[in-house]
Symmetry: C2
Subunit: 584 residues, 2 copies
Amino acid sequence: MGGMRTRLASFVPALDWLRTYRRSDLAADTLAGAIVAVLLVPQAMAYAMLAGLPPEVGLYASIAPLVLYALLGTSRTLSVGPVAVVSLLVASGLAQFGALEPSEALGLAALLALAVGVVQLGMGLLRAGFLVNFLSHPVVSGFTSAAALVIAFSQVEHLLGISVPRGHAPWESITGTLARVPDANPTALAVGALALVLLVLHPRLSAPWLERRGAPDWLQALVPRAAPLFVVVLGTLAAFTLGLPERAGLAIVGAIPSVLPRPSLPTLDMSALKQLATTVMAISLVGFLESYAVAQTLATRRRESIDGSQELVALGVANLGSALFGGYPVTGGFSRSMVNFGAGARTGVASIVTAALVLLTLIALTPLLFYLPRAVLAAIIIVAVLPLVDLAAARRAWSYSRADGAALIVTFVAVFVLGVELGIILGVVFSLVVYLSRSSRPHLAVVGRVGDSEHFRNVERHAVQTSDGLLAIRIDESLYFGNVRNLEQRIHERVAADPKLRQVLLIASGINFVDVTGLECLELCATTLARAGVDLHLAEVKGPVMDRLERSGFVDQLGRDHFHLSTHEAFGKLGAQPEQAVVE
Amino acid sequence: MGGMRTRLASFVPALDWLRTYRRSDLAADTLAGAIVAVLLVPQAMAYAMLAGLPPEVGLYASIAPLVLYALLGTSRTLSVGPVAVVSLLVASGLAQFGALEPSEALGLAALLALAVGVVQLGMGLLRAGFLVNFLSHPVVSGFTSAAALVIAFSQVEHLLGISVPRGHAPWESITGTLARVPDANPTALAVGALALVLLVLHPRLSAPWLERRGAPDWLQALVPRAAPLFVVVLGTLAAFTLGLPERAGLAIVGAIPSVLPRPSLPTLDMSALKQLATTVMAISLVGFLESYAVAQTLATRRRESIDGSQELVALGVANLGSALFGGYPVTGGFSRSMVNFGAGARTGVASIVTAALVLLTLIALTPLLFYLPRAVLAAIIIVAVLPLVDLAAARRAWSYSRADGAALIVTFVAVFVLGVELGIILGVVFSLVVYLSRSSRPHLAVVGRVGDSEHFRNVERHAVQTSDGLLAIRIDESLYFGNVRNLEQRIHERVAADPKLRQVLLIASGINFVDVTGLECLELCATTLARAGVDLHLAEVKGPVMDRLERSGFVDQLGRDHFHLSTHEAFGKLGAQPEQAVVE
């Protein structure tokens, strides 16, 4: 029984905190959940629009996924739902299909959520979360900055009240938008500009004002974060009372069905899935990475811990839930999670409260949003994403290391030129090539004896004794296919350069692992050295490495007497005439 | 002057050995060159046929490239020319264009050689030879075995005297061939089978026989290797005298133009180049890898050395030469280089002799080859490639490490199912994922003090003293984007598990490099640990790493007193109450 309960609790971490849940927790969670809901409702609609979907899809994606993550996730304060970057990836994935009927777009969005859910769940069960390690900081940073700019630019058409055909690459859409600036609708522009100003100023003015007035804490927490809600209410009222859509052609959200769709699985269109494969992989990895990074940061602050595989399972199930209820891909977002944490959320109950409030909005309040101007939603998106543009990161990465800076810039530029998915793929390939180039030269040191001691140090840094005819090389890294050929080459070069050389001693103290390419290079090296009259010896081979070499037959091939426990022992047996090394 | 001569000699390594060239060298080189020519002429025609090209293209590719490599290469005994695996890649690249007119195929083949030449020359000048490190032994081995089988199967149609439409994937061609077995031409089959038997038996019978008879050395070296030439002569005579083409429909080579084509650049068809991009990259890398491995092995035996970048330059120029003279991509081949070396070649003059003899054959002897049966060429290919199938390597890699074995098998299967280029790409991706999965968990050891000494060892292996509230972790690997998140997570887990923890000491003695992802993780780690009331310290940071951390501002952010020269010093300052560690 106990074992089963533990196993169940490891799959449903909520069981853990529910057992000790107290009334004071409920109060804190309710307040935080409400504050997040106030932020989430307008953002969810805006992000759905960004993804090229009707606004209600954003609300659908903000109910079931939140509840499922709250039950299955290991972070107690992560806020799951529609986020900007994932919405952009969805938009880019759907753009491949050209002009879509609304019902087709809905079907494909749910299909994407389903596929992302399956991939994340699978990665979680296979414990393959390490795959996000492919995404280095410079690549993520370059991608995020570029994506934020692309997102902001994509909203300019709504701010201007124009419609721009989608290009293949973001820079085409941007130039397309710029070319149509003269056709701007002045009303849309005015409404959008006003919304932008309010969104920027409201939190900066209201927070100090409330503090000066000694307002209660919950009000101080709520009001500054309600800016998106305020502009939604104000914009809707203005559009309705002034009759802006009819009189000035202002684009509005229109009718939103006020029911949650009946659960249904999206149609499994295999050819569409094939076309969406890159998008699915990009959303699965980028979504998990963003979510995991936030969850990790928040958990550490309270000395809680996060399990990567269980996070993948939880996000996967959340996406399956989104697919089932007509939503689109979701993940844990940075800004809303920070708000949730900052507002005092203690457990997943906060997210369940948020989901309940979104459901309430959907059922009861959507008719009120009929007149919500699209320009207001565009302004909400722009203000939400612009802080993600981090040019300082580029300067910083470049000054720290040219290779890292280049990876960031390559990714940034590639996103604009090639598109969001290809951009991130090129960034990943570039950073892998840079890494491989770096790790292809393993760190080696030719060593000699320090005085008469048992210590051996780099001949280039210390005055040490070497032996004539003996070359002792300390290898400071594990041997794998990426670096072993370079080792081989450097040994061969030294052998070719020194005709007196009779023995090569490899000091393996830094080798934690030798893969089969490494093994075969060692074997080949031993054979070709032997043909050239040079003996290969090894010292300080670690236990697990020795076991493998033994099993492979290499130990017998080379001869057991060619393996030495310590460098000291090897020098004693091999070195004949010690001579003072020339310090280079 | 001296400087210029050295610089010239580093670009034209031949100048180096030409200065000391002696008459005895010439005798040795001439014999070796002639032996290689005897092997090369039939192989070159056969491999051109394998690539889907007329046989003379193989001869064109066996003249200029040999001379150019002899002048520019750093290996003195490498034999450059058409090889089986590259020919297969050419065939697979050309197959994308469907049925081609002979002149179109010639143009595309020369274009491929041009592009491969440019890529290899560029990689050489940029010193990007490390890119071949992407190809691990298991991937190369799986690829080579599968390619050899695909090549052998592709020749079955010529042995059977039938013609099979090319499928997209090798397995489709294979099943296509098997389905047409009943249509076999008995004469072709008989000629092919006889050629196979002769090719296998001739070297095995003639070598001991010549040795017993005390034949001169050069005859003992020449005759067993002339098997392909013998079957060409016998097959041609049989086809001519018995009138097999006319009477039994035996497919023959037919007319070969007996002039070297005038040098001309292939047409630069950009859309064709785009379609051939994968093929170009695969040939450039696989070709260089094969060539470099052979050159390295041969050079070490004579204590000569090889320069990877210059090798790329030399191969690149050899391919440009091939393109200019109507050839197709070439590289240094394993078996002919071994023959060249074994026959006593001392310098590139041997290859120049080979090229002269191929040119002579082309000009004077091709009319004699009109009746050469294609089934004989097919037999030559099959006997040449079957030894490349190395099933023992799969068993060996699997028993050494499951991951390496899986990489080999994945590549092998993928070549049959997806095709040769996609097969090798999938293998590379698979081995990178495996490597990343392995390196994503950096090797860490929690350490404590050995007795009262200044030595610190792993708490899991030694009885050592630790300090309450202090966690000391030795990091045995460089920190980069692939492994740093795992480090962060393991630290956070330990902090979450031990509420008494107040200090974390990272011992950086094994860290040779920290990339910007590593730096940012360290910074984030320091900040989140501080919020949780834990201080981060570092000890034994290497000089170059410290310089970078200093420049980045991390040293000031953390506080200079958080960096310690030695673990001993850090323990002295940080550790309060030492307690006996529990040995796990």
